[in-house]
């Protein structure tokens, strides 16, 4: 596999949709099940046998990976870290263009926020079997069941759906558009329907942001500087291009070979392309029914998608997904729930579905259920933690009750605090100003933004919280 595909991991995203969490910790290093998020895609690649991976990331992440002891990536693969400037606002396609020199073969691009147990070979097999230009992974969207801190009621379905059209076999990608761009309704050319008379349009899918791309696509990107995002621009472009004539008509192939660079068309030639073409010509194999025209109708650009019916596939790019991923993460690897170096009192209750990180201190009469406790976290006596994510280095004083909340790194929870469905921010640079929830205060369903203010002015906390009761 190594020779055939190069793995590229995109880990430079800022996590703009969950700013509260990524305020201090860059998204790739957010702890999920006490492992940095980036570990999951790396592990996925390692499991299928990659020995080397190009990681595109920021300086900050690189520094933290090399220095911070809490960020331990136990992967055996060789990581080739490539840093890009944070302020350059580079999209994923820009990043791919950035490393064009390193790309020698077809590439497998993975996003750092993917947590999945997908059989990766399904995607790669599609790529191989059809000599595809692009193959990608999608999954049925999951409903997030957990209550999300700071969000009242059910999340409204305000997000625009993606319309994904696949053919009768469910593999060939024929159409892709976002609801936002479909003011005039779904418009499909009749010629496409003639070639693929049965099109399934699915709206309830999530894109895993895992792509197999031909090397020629990377070269194409180098020539087309206007495309900056893989998902936003490149993939829809490729899907559309499948049926455009200029790349398909056999008559112009020869010319295209020469004029490719000038025309900015995607070059799909590789060293054995000639041979493949000959085989296709001689073969009577056909990918469709109903007529005897060439396989793929003579098209030279093909996009495929593997849609997972079951299994875990999450993109950790929102708070809700983050919480869900934390709940599911323990199922993905078998390690002891309680880290051997953690000091856990015998007289406390720890549920089987909880994880306790390294060098934690858990005191007496504490109960922890369905929660994740990060590295070097101290939990004092008589604390109750349910359905919560406690990150690294947090101190929870006596008698606290924490439910359905996310406590970010290095926060201090004051004595007797009652925290329900809150998100408590972190601030690692100013240790003194760590979030301190004053003793005996109950914070219920706080707004995220308001909680972020807590760590500077206690009094504001008091006034701004929605429901504060003594």
């Amino acid at each position: 596999l190594q020779m055939e595909l190069q793995a590229v991991l995109m880990a430079a995203g800022g996590g703009s949709r969950m700013m509260d969490l990524t305020y201090n910790t860059p998204k790739p290093l957010l702890p999920v099940g006490n492992k940095p998020l980036i570990w999951y895609p790396l592990n996925l690649l390692e499991r299928v046998g990659f020995e080397e991976v190009i990681v595109i990331t920021t300086k900050e992440v690189q520094k933290m990976i090399s220095t911070d002891p809490k960020v331990k990536l136990d992967v055996k693969m060789k990581l080739d870290l490539v840093c890009i400037q944070e302020d350059a606002d580079m999209g994923t396609a820009d990043a791919l263009r950035h490393i064009q020199q390193k790309v020698k073969t077809d590439v497998l691009v993975v996003s750092c926020d993917l947590i999945t147990d997908a059989a990766l070979h399904e995607v790669v097999d599609l790529f191989r079997a059809h000599n595809a230009t692009l193959s990608m992974l999608m999954s049925k969207a999951h409903e997030f069941t957990e209550t999300v801190p700071g969000q009242k009621g059910k999340k409204k379905t305000g997000e625009q759906r993606d319309f994904v059209g696949v053919d009768g076999t469910g593999k060939r990608l024929l159409f892709m558009a976002n609801e936002a761009d479909l003011d005039e309704g779904v418009v499909i050319r009749k010629s496409i329907m003639r070639k693929h008379p049965r099109m399934h349009i699915k709206t309830g899918l999530v894109d895993a942001h895992l792509y197999c791309l031909k090397k020629s696509v990377v070269d194409f990107l180098a020539d087309n500087k206007s495309i900056s995002s893989i998902r936003g621009e490149l993939v829809p472009y490729l899907v559309r291009k499948q049926f455009s004539k200029s790349t398909n008509s056999p008559k112009v192939i020869d010319e295209t070979h020469q004029n490719l660079k000038k025309n900015d068309k995607i070059q799909i030639s590789s060293r054995d392309e000639e041979l493949l073409h000959l085989t296709q010509e001689r073969s009577c194999w056909n990918d469709h029914r109903g007529d005897m025209s060439d396989a793929y109708h003579g098209g030279r650009l093909r996009c495929y998608v593997h849609i997972m019916d079951e299994g875990i596939c999450y993109r950790v790019n929102t708070l809700a997904a983050y919480i869900e991923a934390n709940r599911l993460a323990p199922k993905l690897f078998d390690e002891p729930a309680v880290h051997p170096s953690a000091v856990v009192s015998e007289r406390c209750l720890i549920g089987a579905d909880s994880i306790i990180g390294a060098s934690c201190q858990i005191s007496d009469k504490t109960s922890i259920k369905r929660s994740t406790i990060g590295v070097s976290t101290t939990v004092r006596e008589k604390v109750k933690v349910t359905n919560s994510i406690i990150m690294h280095g947090v101190t929870i004083e006596e008698g606290c009750n924490i439910q359905g909340s996310v406590i970010c790194s290095n926060a201090v929870i004051g004595r007797g605090a009652d925290i329900k469905y809150c998100l408590v921010g972190s601030h690692s640079t100013a240790r003194e100003h760590n979030s301190k929830i004053a003793p005996e205060k109950r914070l219920t369903e706080c707004h995220r933004a308001e909680v972020n203010i807590t760590y500077h002015y206690k009094s504001i906390t008091y006034n701004n919280c929605h429901k504060v009761s003594k």
Partner: protein
């Protein structure tokens, strides 16, 4: 929906058991309400035109009977007497017939809508019924579709009013005719039709967003469906036609229901069969394909040798390569029947003939050295020697003299005489009726008038036949093939129908334009934004200078532009 509909609903729910026991009914519309088959249908209504030597309406009735229909209402308008005579003589009107046929005639029917309004007015249907045209050839077993339809109506409280039956066949299939091509958007799980559109002449297919809004997250867009023109209708369908007097065709109805779905709450579903056969003979192109499909036994058990009409002397034998011979057929020395040939009784064929993919009626005589390929000859046709006929229709009593060649898609209507020594160009239509005579009748916009055609005969007789057109001994008038007309309406009306010509190159233009769009799109957004911003800032600054706006306000304004 009227209050009547409400009553009906209640009635249905309470009398479920009765419902099961009630006989299945069907409405057969033995009129096409158009003139596609003119001039042939001037002498014979379309439903009685022979297909494989059997009138088309017999196929439809056989299909209905075999799916379990026990009561059929046949509605006729154009030449209703002929249809009535035919049916009264047929096995359907014998006392032993399992399917009771009621013939209802009226000159006032102008469309399918009128028929169904009459069904409602006369209160003929009591339950779900099957709606077909008299020119549908099918062997589909609709009982499963019927079951699904009934189930849906039971579960969803009569929301589903119609189930359309489609056959799966890929684009480019021979029996799909271009003008009947549809595209259907459906809900994959419930099989509900969300959008239904004829695709003729469209390059881009547009689906409004509102059809994707309700609940489901999986839709299907299908272009591999052949409309069999068989629909299972709830009794409400007739009422809906009454309520909406502007509905003329089933197409109007379907579109109307889908558009007003939210208001009326009616839904349409579809049933797709994979192995059945069903097609409507809507033009000669379809006639040609269906006739050949019949001979090739795709409509089994409705095959030529089955003699399902149960008429004396109609039987024939079936030998290999699908060659069927009726009684008393004589075949000259050296003549070959290659494949897919059906020859009716008492027909004699001369020596050294080549016949393939053809149907020849009863009492025909064919001379020597004749080549027939995809010829459809009806009864009492006389063909002399050295004639060549390719993909053409020759009606009853026509005479083709020596050395005539009929090129593709010619039509010789009733009693026409052609030749000798003539080659008719492609698409020639010859009839004993003068084309202008037809135009005189044409005052009436609606096309199924039952006016006596003969009344202007004296006038037409005066006009002489043109020997250059029909040969020295010829009799008949050339009907100017409307194919040559550039007007689209005319084109749609032509006898043969549009030739299914999947031309993949045809949409290159739109593609090219789209491509350039792509380019501009892919290049533009950022640059455009920057440009636009610069222009705006410039404009704001100029205005600020002119109107003496305070600097702070300008800064604020420019910031807000970002």
């Amino acid at each position: 929906m009227s209050s009547r509909g409400g009553k009906q609903k209640k009635g249905n729910v309470t009398s479920e058991q009765e419902e099961e026991e009630q006989p299945l009914q069907a409405v057969l519309v033995a009129d096409s309400f158009n003139r596609r088959f003119f001039p042939i249908s001037k002498d014979q209504p379309r439903a009685l035109l022979p297909l494989g030597n059997v009138a088309m309406i017999d196929y439809t009735l056989e299909f209905l009977t075999s799916t379990g229909v026990q009561e059929t209402f046949v509605f006729c308008c154009w030449m209703s007497n002929k249809i009535k005579d035919h049916l009264l003589k047929s096995k359907w009107c014998r006392p032993t017939s399992p399917n009771v046929v009621h013939i209802i005639t009226s000159d006032l029917y102008r469309s399918l809508g009128d028929v169904l309004r009459d069904v409602d007015a006369k209160n003929l249907v009591r339950n779900d019924f099957i709606l077909v045209y008299g020119d549908v050839v099918s062997n589909i077993d609709v009982s499963q579709a019927l079951q699904e339809h009934r189930h849906r109506r039971k579960v969803d409280k009569n929301i589903s009013v119609m189930t359309m039956v489609f056959k799966e066949s890929s684009p480019g299939h021979k029996t799909r005719c271009e003008e009947d091509d549809v595209i259907v958007a459906m809900d994959s799980k419930s099989k509900r039709v969300l959008h239904y559109q004829k695709t003729q002449g469209l390059k881009k297919l547009q689906f409004p967003m509102n059809i994707f809004q309700h609940g489901s997250d999986e839709f299907e867009i299908r272009h591999d469906l052949l409309d069999c023109h068989i629909s299972i209708c709830s009794p409400q369908v007739a009422e809906l036609f009454t309520d909406n007097f502007d509905y003329q065709t089933r197409n109007d109805f379907v579109r109307g229901i889908l558009v007003n779905e939210e208001i009326l709450g009616n839904q349409i579903h579809l049933y797709v069969t994979q192995d059945g056969y069903g097609a409507r003979v809507s033009n000669l192109q379809m006639y040609d394909s269906v006739s050949l499909d019949m001979v090739r036994r795709w409509v089994y058990p409705l095959t030529p040798e089955a003699n399902f009409t149960d008429q004396q002397g109609q039987g024939c034998t079936h030998s290999r390569h699908n060659v069927y011979r009726g009684a008393e057929v004589s075949l000259g020395h050296g003549s070959q029947m290659e494949e897919n040939v059906l020859i009716g009784r008492d027909t004699s064929i001369g020596a050294n003939c080549h016949i393939s993919n053809s149907v020849i009626g009863n009492n025909c005589t064919i001379g020597d050295n004749v080549v027939l390929d995809r010829a459809h000859m009806w009864n009492n046709v006389h063909v002399s020697s050295n004639v060549e006929i390719h993909q053409s229709v020759v009606c009853d009593g026509a005479v083709v003299k020596e050395a005539v060649r009929l090129n593709k898609q010619c039509v010789l209507a009733y009693n026409v005489v052609i030749g000798p020594n003539l080659s008719l160009p492609e698409g020639t239509v010859v009839s004993m009726h003068h084309p202008e005579e037809e135009e005189e009748d044409d005052d009436d916009e609606f096309l199924s008038d039952d006016q006596e055609v003969g009344h202007s005969k004296d006038k037409t007789r005066q006009k002489a036949f043109n020997p250059a057109e029909v040969g020295p001994e010829g009799k008949g008038y050339i009907w100017k093939a409307s194919m040559n007309d550039t007007e689209d309406e005319e084109l749609a009306q032509c006898l043969w129908g549009l030739v299914l010509n999947p031309d993949p190159e045809s949409d290159s233009e739109s593609e090219a334009s789209e491509e350039s769009q792509d380019r501009s799109r892919s290049v533009s957004p950022e640059i455009d934004d920057v440009n636009a911003f610069q222009l705006e800032v410039l404009g704001t600054l100029q205005r600020g200078l002119e109107e003496n706006i305070v600097c702070d306000n300008l800064v604020l304004e420019i910031n807000s532009l970002k």
